[in-house]
C-alpha cells in the first residue's frame, strides 16, 4: 500500500510563560492509505499535538527539514485559507465531545458534512452504515451519547474524506457504547477505504488498528505493526 501521509522531523514547542516546552520532538512517521493508525499514550504524551499538526489544525515549528506530505504535497507551508480548503476536500474530524448542531436532526447534521463534499453522497446510506437508520428524524437531545458520537462519525464521513482524525472518540462513553462506536469506524474504513487516525489512552482500542504507535514526552517510543485487527467487540476495555 502506498503512503498517504509522510511526516518528516516535525517539532512543536509551546511557551508556558517564558519557559518553552517541547510537546513534540523530531517526530517522523508514514501512514498508509486505508490504514487504521492508533496513537497511544498517557495524558501529556504529545498524541493530541501530533494529531492537530498532522490534520492542519495547528502549525509545526519552522524548520527546513520538517515536512508533512499529503500525497506528496507539503501542507505544512499552506496558509490558513488554503489549509481550510484542504481540510474541506480531504479530511474528516471526530472529537471526544460530539459538537453537533442541536437544532438539526440526525439527517440534517449529516447533511452539514455532505454539503462540503465535491460529490453528491447518499446520506441515508451513510447513516445506515453507522447504524442509525431508525433515528434519522430524531434531534440530539433525543439520542444517547453513543448515538450522538455515531452521528458525528456520519457527518465526518459524509464528505468522503480521504483521512479521518479521531481524538478520543470513546472518551466520554462506556464500554458497550464505545465498542459500538468503534465498530462504526471500522465499518467506515472497510466500506470507504478511509484512512483512520485514532488517538486514545485506552490500550484495548489499539488492537483494532493496523499500526500502533506509542508516544511519551513528545517522542514516538514504539511502533507496532498489528498482524491482524481485532474486532471491536472483542477488545479488552480500559
Amino acid at each position: 500500500m502506498e503512503n498517504i501521509i509522510e511526516i518528516k522531523n516535525i517539532t512543536k514547542s509551546y511557551y508556558v510563560g517564558k519557559v518553552p516546552t517541547k510537546a513534540l520532538d523530531n517526530v517522523s512517521l508514514n501512514i498508509k492509505k486505508g490504514e487504521i493508525l492508533v496513537i497511544l499514550g498517557a495524558s501529556g504524551g504529545g498524541k493530541t499535538t501530533l494529531l492537530n499538526l498532522v490534520s492542519g489544525l495547528d502549525k509545526i515549528d519552522k524548520n527546513k527539514n520538517s515536512k508533512i506530505l499529503y500525497e506528496n504535497k507539503d501542507i505544512s507551508k499552506y496558509s490558513d485559507s488554503k489549509m481550510t480548503k484542504f481540510r474541506k476536500r480531504n479530511l474528516g474530524f471526530i472529537f471526544q465531545t460530539y459538537n453537533l448542531l442541536e437544532h438539526l436532526n440526525v439527517y440534517e447534521n449529516v447533511l452539514v458534512g455532505s454539503s462540503l463534499g465535491r460529490k453528491k453522497v447518499d446520506v441515508h446510506s451513510i447513516i445506515e452504515t453507522v447504524g442509525l437508520k431508525q433515528h434519522e428524524k430524531k434531534y440530539m437531545h433525543q439520542l444517547s451519547g453513543g448515538e450522538q458520537q455515531r452521528v458525528s462519525i456520519a457527518r465526518a464521513l459524509a464528505k468522503k474524506p480521504k483521512v479521518m482524525f479521531c481524538d478520543e472518540p470513546t472518551g466520554a462513553l462506556d464500554e458497550k457504547t464505545g465498542k459500538v462506536v468503534l465498530q462504526s469506524l471500522v465499518e467506515a474504513n472497510n466500506k470507504y477505504d478511509t484512512t483512520l487516525i485514532i488517538v486514545t489512552h485506552n490500550p484495548g482500542i489499539a488492537l483494532i488498528g493496523d499500526k500502533i504507535i506509542k508516544m511519551n514526552s513528545g517522542k514516538i517510543v514504539d511502533e507496532i505493526i498489528n498482524e491482524k485487527r481485532t474486532d471491536p467487540k472483542d477488545i479488552p476495555w480500559g
Binding site: 492537530n52 489544525l57 495547528d58 474541506k88 474530524f93 437544532h103 438539526l104 465526518a156
Partner: protein, 847 residues
C-alpha cells in the same frame, strides 16, 4: 450554509426575550416614522395648493407715514374740509404748522410734532387713507396688489374672538368655506369648525357676541390664519376659546372691539414662500426666491407685529413639517442604533455558546463567512416582522396624528395616499443596517482558529483586567474577590452591560428633562412680571400724572448697529439684528428684572445702562461692560451692558424710560405701553370710548399663563407619548440584559445551588456584580445627554432666536437611577424564575 441558517432559525425559540426586544425596537421606530411622515404628507400636500387657491398674502405690512414726503398740501386741504373739519383748536394749530411746513420745507419738523400729527390722523380715521395712498403710489413699481384687512378683536368671558369683515370681492386672503355657506345678511356669521366641534356648536345654532345674537350659517377658515394667532394677548392658540368669525359690512360696523387692521400685499410674480424673512433679497430678481423685501429698504414700509405674526400664522406650519420629519427620522435611527447593540449582544453570546460546534465546522472546512451568514437570521427576522408591524401601525395611526395637527392648524386635510417609500424604508433600512452590522460583528468574532475554539474553557481565559482586579481585591474577603473576578472575566460582556445601561440612562434623562423643559422656560419668563394686564397703545402718549398705580413703559424695536467688547473689538452680529427695548422706571410697581440668582437688578438701570436678556447673552456671547449701539431712524443710542435678565425669548433689553425718551427726542415721560392691576382692562368694551381708541390690544397675564399651562398640558401629552416610548425601550433593553446575565451565569448559579448556597447569597455574588457599572454608566450618561439635547434644541430654535435652558435637578437624576435599578432587578428576578424551572442536572449539563 442553508442548514446553518435552519439551525439558527430554530435556535430563535431559545432567544425569545432578545428577539422580542429587536422586534419591539424596530416596530416602534418604524411606526413613528411611518405615522408621522404619512400624517405630515396629508397636511403638506394640501398646504401649498391651499395658499395658491386662496391667494394668501405674501406679507402684511405696516405703512409708516413719512411726514416730510408722503402727504401733499392738496391731500391736507381735502382732509381739513372733510374728516378733520371737527378738529379742536389745539389740533388745528398743529395741523396748520404742518401745512406751513409742507409749504416751506426748510422749517423743522420735530418728532414730537410727527407724533402729535399721527394721533390726530388716527382719531379722525384719516391715517388709513394716507397709507392707502402711499401703497397706491408704489404698487405699480413693485407690481403688487394690496388690500386693507379690517378686523376687530373682542375679549368676552373666556373667549377671544377675531371678527373679520367678509367681502366676497376680496382678492387676497379669500375665505375658505369648510361647510355651510358664507354670511349674506346682517345677523349671519361663520365660525371656525374646530371651535364649533369642541364647543358642540352646529350650523343653524345661535352665537352671541356682545349684545348681538347671530345665526351660524357656515364653518370657514381664514387662510392667512393657518395657525390662528389672533392677537398678541393670546400667543398660543386655544381651540376651545379662540374663534374667528366672518360677518358682513353692516354687522361688522356694529360690533364693538379693538381695531386690528393691516395691509395685505400679494405680488404678481412667482414668489417662493419661505419660513424665514430675509430683508436683503431683491425684488427685481423675480425668478429666484425671496425677492419681496426690497420694498422695505426703499420706502417707509416696515415690519409690524402682523408681519411677524404672519411667520407664525402662515409659515410656522412649515417649520412643524420639517422638525417633525426630522424627529421621525432621528427616532428611527436612534432606535435602530439600540437594536444594533442588542444584536451585538445576541450574536456574541450565540457564538460564545456555540464555539465548540463552530470549531468543528471550521475544522471540517466551513469558512467564517458562511458561518457568519447564518447569524443574519436575527436582524432579518427582527427587521422583517418589526418593520411590517411598525408600518401597519404607522398607517393606522396617521389619521389620529393628522387630527392632532388639525387642532393646531386650520388647513384642509388631503386624503390618505399610499406611499411605497415608507413601506420600503420601514423594512429595508432596518434590515440593511442591522444585517450589515451584525454580519461584520460575527466576522470579527469568528476570526479565531478552530483549535482555539475547540479547547475546553477557551472562553474562560483570564484576561489582564481579571489579573489586575485579583491583585487589588486580594486583601478583601473571598466574596468580593469572587464577585469582581466574575465581573471582569469577560470584558466584552461588561462593556455591553455598561453601554446598554448608558443608552438606557440617556433615554431616562431625556424623559426627565423633556417633561420639565417648557414649564421651566415659562416659569422663568413670568417670574419677574407682577402685573395683571399689559396694555399696548396705538401711539406714543405722554404721562401726565400717575394717579392710578400704573407702570408706564416705552417699548421700541431698535436695530443694532454695533456691539463692542471691552477691548474695543466688534462682536459678530447678523445684519438686521434688532432688540425689543423696554424703557421702564426703576420705581416700578409691577416689574422685577431678575438675574440668574433670582435677585432684582432693576436698580442697575441708570443713564446709558442696559440690562439684556439671557437669550441674547447666550446667542451673541455678550458680557457685562460691552457697548451696544442701537439706531432708530437717524438717531444712534449707546448703552453699556449692566446685567442680564433670566428671559429666553427673542432679543430684549431694559433701559431707563426717561433716558430712552430723551435719546429719541421725545419728552422724558413718553410711553406706549402700560402695566396695570386694574380689572377695568379685562373688558375693553366697558372703557370710555376715548380710552378704547387709544388701546391697540390688552394682554391679560393671568389668562395668558393659564392658557400657556393648558397648552403645555396638551404639549405634555406628546411628551408623555415620547416618555412612554422611551420607557418601553428602556425596559426592553433592561430585560434583554438581565436575561443574558442570568443565562450567562446559569452554570455558576446552578453549581452554587447544588453546593448549598441560598438564593439571596447567590444573587448577591453572581447577579448583582454589574450594579456598580450600571450606576457609573448612568451617571456618565447625564452630561452626555444634556450636551446632545442642548445641541438639538439649539438647532431647532436658531431660527426663532430662542434658547431653552436644559437642566436636571439632583433629585430628578436620583429618581431616574432608582427607576433604572428597580427595573433591572425586576427583570433579573423574572429571568431567574425562568431559570428555576430548569432541573439542576440539565442546567449543569456539559454543552
Amino acid at each position: 450554509m442553508k442548514l446553518l441558517l435552519i439551525n439558527s432559525l430554530k435556535g430563535l425559540k431559545k432567544k425569545k426575550v432578545q428577539m422580542f426586544g429587536i422586534i419591539i425596537m424596530v416596530m416602534l421606530s418604524t411606526a413613528i416614522y411611518t405615522g408621522m411622515n404619512t400624517a405630515i404628507d396629508r397636511l403638506e400636500d394640501k398646504y401649498y395648493d391651499y395658499l395658491n387657491d386662496q391667494n394668501v398674502e405674501d406679507i402684511s405690512v405696516a405703512v409708516n407715514v413719512n411726514y416730510e414726503n408722503d402727504i401733499t398740501i392738496e391731500h391736507m386741504n381735502s382732509y381739513l374740509n372733510n374728516e378733520l373739519s371737527n378738529a379742536t383748536s389745539e389740533e388745528k394749530e398743529i395741523l396748520n404748522y404742518y401745512i406751513n411746513y409742507l409749504n416751506n420745507k426748510t422749517m423743522e419738523l420735530p418728532l414730537s410734532t410727527k407724533v402729535a400729527l399721527e394721533n390726530i390722523f388716527t382719531k379722525y380715521n384719516v391715517l388709513n387713507k394716507i397709507k392707502m395712498n402711499i401703497l397706491s403710489n408704489i404698487s405699480t413699481k413693485y407690481d403688487f396688489d394690496y388690500e386693507l384687512e379690517l378686523s376687530k378683536i373682542i375679549s368676552e368671558d373666556d373667549n377671544l374672538i377675531k371678527v373679520i369683515l367678509y367681502d366676497d370681492n376680496n382678492e387676497i386672503n379669500k375665505t375658505y368655506l369648510v361647510d355651510g355657506r358664507y354670511p349674506k345678511n346682517e345677523n349671519e356669521i361663520t365660525i371656525l369648525p374646530g371651535y364649533a366641534k369642541v364647543n358642540k356648536i352646529n350650523i343653524g345654532d345661535s352665537y352671541k357676541i356682545g349684545d348681538n345674537t347671530y345665526e351660524i350659517v357656515g364653518f370657514t377658515y381664514a387662510p392667512d390664519y393657518i395657525y390662528p394667532l389672533i392677537s398678541f394677548s393670546m400667543p398660543i392658540f386655544d381651540e376651545k376659546t379662540n374663534n374667528i368669525v366672518f360677518m358682513n359690512q353692516t354687522a361688522y360696523e356694529k360690533v364693538i372691539g379693538i381695531n386690528d387692521n393691516s395691509f395685505a400685499i400679494k405680488y404678481n410674480g412667482e414668489i417662493k414662500r419661505e419660513f424665514e424673512l430675509n430683508s436683503n433679497q431683491d425684488i427685481n430678481d423675480l425668478k429666484t426666491e425671496n425677492s419681496i423685501f426690497k420694498i422695505f429698504n426703499e420706502n417707509n414700509i416696515s415690519f409690524d407685529y402682523n408681519t411677524f405674526t404672519r411667520i407664525g400664522r402662515i409659515g410656522a406650519v412649515q417649520l412643524e413639517f420639517s422638525t417633525d420629519r426630522l424627529f421621525a427620522d432621528y427616532f428611527l435611527y436612534v432606535l435602530l442604533g439600540i437594536s444594533v447593540v442588542i444584536i451585538m449582544i445576541i450574536t456574541k453570546k450565540r457564538i460564545d455558546d456555540e464555539r465548540l460546534q463552530i470549531g468543528v465546522l471550521k475544522s471540517l472546512g466551513y469558512n467564517k463567512y458562511s458561518i457568519a451568514t447564518s447569524y443574519l437570521v436575527y436582524p432579518i427576522i427582527g427587521s422583517l416582522i418589526g418593520g411590517l408591524l411598525g408600518y401597519l401601525i404607522g398607517i393606522s395611526v396617521n389619521k389620529p396624528i393628522a387630527t392632532i395637527y388639525l387642532s393646531f392648524y386650520n388647513v384642509p386635510l388631503e386624503n390618505y395616499i399610499f406611499n411605497l417609500t415608507y413601506l420600503k424604508n420601514s423594512v429595508l433600512i432596518p434590515m440593511i443596517t442591522l444585517s450589515i452590522l451584525s454580519y461584520l460583528i460575527a466576522i470579527i468574532m469568528l476570526r479565531k482558529k478552530p483549535l482555539s475554539l475547540l479547547k475546553e474553557g477557551s472562553n474562560l481565559k483570564i484576561n489582564i483586567f481579571t489579573k489586575l482586579i485579583n491583585k487589588i481585591t486580594s486583601i478583601f474577603k473571598f466574596e468580593y474577590r469572587f464577585k469582581y473576578s466574575l465581573a471582569f472575566r469577560s470584558i466584552g460582556k461588561l462593556f455591553l452591560v455598561s453601554i446598554t445601561s448608558f443608552c438606557t440612562g440617556m433615554l431616562i434623562i431625556l424623559v426627565l428633562i423633556g417633561s420639565n423643559l417648557f414649564s421651566n422656560v415659562i416659569k422663568e419668563s413670568f417670574s419677574g412680571m407682577k402685573y395683571k394686564y399689559m396694555i399696548y397703545t396705538n401711539s406714543v402718549g405722554f404721562e401726565q400724572n400717575n394717579t392710578e398705580n400704573k407702570d408706564y413703559i416705552l417699548n421700541m424695536n431698535l436695530e443694532v448697529k454695533n456691539i463692542k467688547k471691552i477691548n474695543g473689538e466688534n462682536v459678530e452680529i447678523k445684519e438686521d439684528t434688532s432688540f425689543s427695548i423696554i424703557g421702564t422706571d426703576t420705581a416700578s410697581n409691577y416689574l422685577e428684572i431678575l438675574d440668574d440668582n433670582n435677585k432684582n437688578i432693576i436698580s442697575n438701570l441708570t443713564t446709558n445702562k442696559i440690562i439684556v436678556n439671557q437669550n441674547a447673552k447666550k446667542l451673541l456671547n455678550l458680557e457685562i461692560g460691552y457697548i451696544i449701539e442701537l439706531s432708530y431712524e437717524d438717531i444712534t443710542l449707546e448703552y453699556e451692558i449692566a446685567g442680564f435678565s433670566e428671559e429666553y425669548m427673542g432679543y430684549s433689553a431694559y433701559v431707563l424710560r426717561s433716558d430712552l425718551s430723551n435719546k429719541l427726542g421725545l419728552q422724558g415721560n413718553a410711553y406706549n405701553m402700560i402695566y396695570s392691576d386694574d380689572d377695568k382692562y379685562n373688558n375693553i368694551s366697558d372703557l370710555k370710548e376715548e380710552e378704547q381708541q387709544q388701546i391697540a390690544y390688552v394682554i391679560n397675564l393671568e389668562e395668558l399663563k393659564d392658557n400657556i399651562m393648558k397648552q403645555m398640558d396638551r404639549f405634555n401629552g406628546s411628551i408623555y407619548i415620547i416618555i412612554i416610548f422611551a420607557s418601553i425601550m428602556a425596559l426592553v433593553i433592561i430585560a434583554v440584559i438581565a436575561n443574558i446575565v442570568v443565562e450567562e451565569n446559569k452554570k455558576t448559579i446552578s453549581l452554587m445551588k447544588v453546593m448549598g448556597y441560598k438564593n439571596k447569597k447567590i444573587s448577591n455574588i453572581v447577579l448583582n456584580i454589574y450594579t456598580p457599572f450600571i450606576v457609573i454608566a448612568y451617571l456618565l450618561s447625564i452630561p452626555v445627554t444634556i450636551k446632545i439635547l442642548e445641541s438639538i434644541v439649539s438647532a431647532l430654535t436658531k431660527d426663532i432666536e430662542m434658547t431653552i435652558p436644559i437642566q436636571i435637578t439632583p433629585s430628578l437624576a436620583a429618581l431616574g437611577l432608582l427607576g433604572l435599578l428597580i427595573a433591572y432587578y425586576i427583570a433579573i428576578s423574572l429571568s431567574k424564575k425562568v431559570l428555576n424551572k430548569i432541573p439542576l442536572a440539565i442546567a449543569l449539563k456539559r454543552e
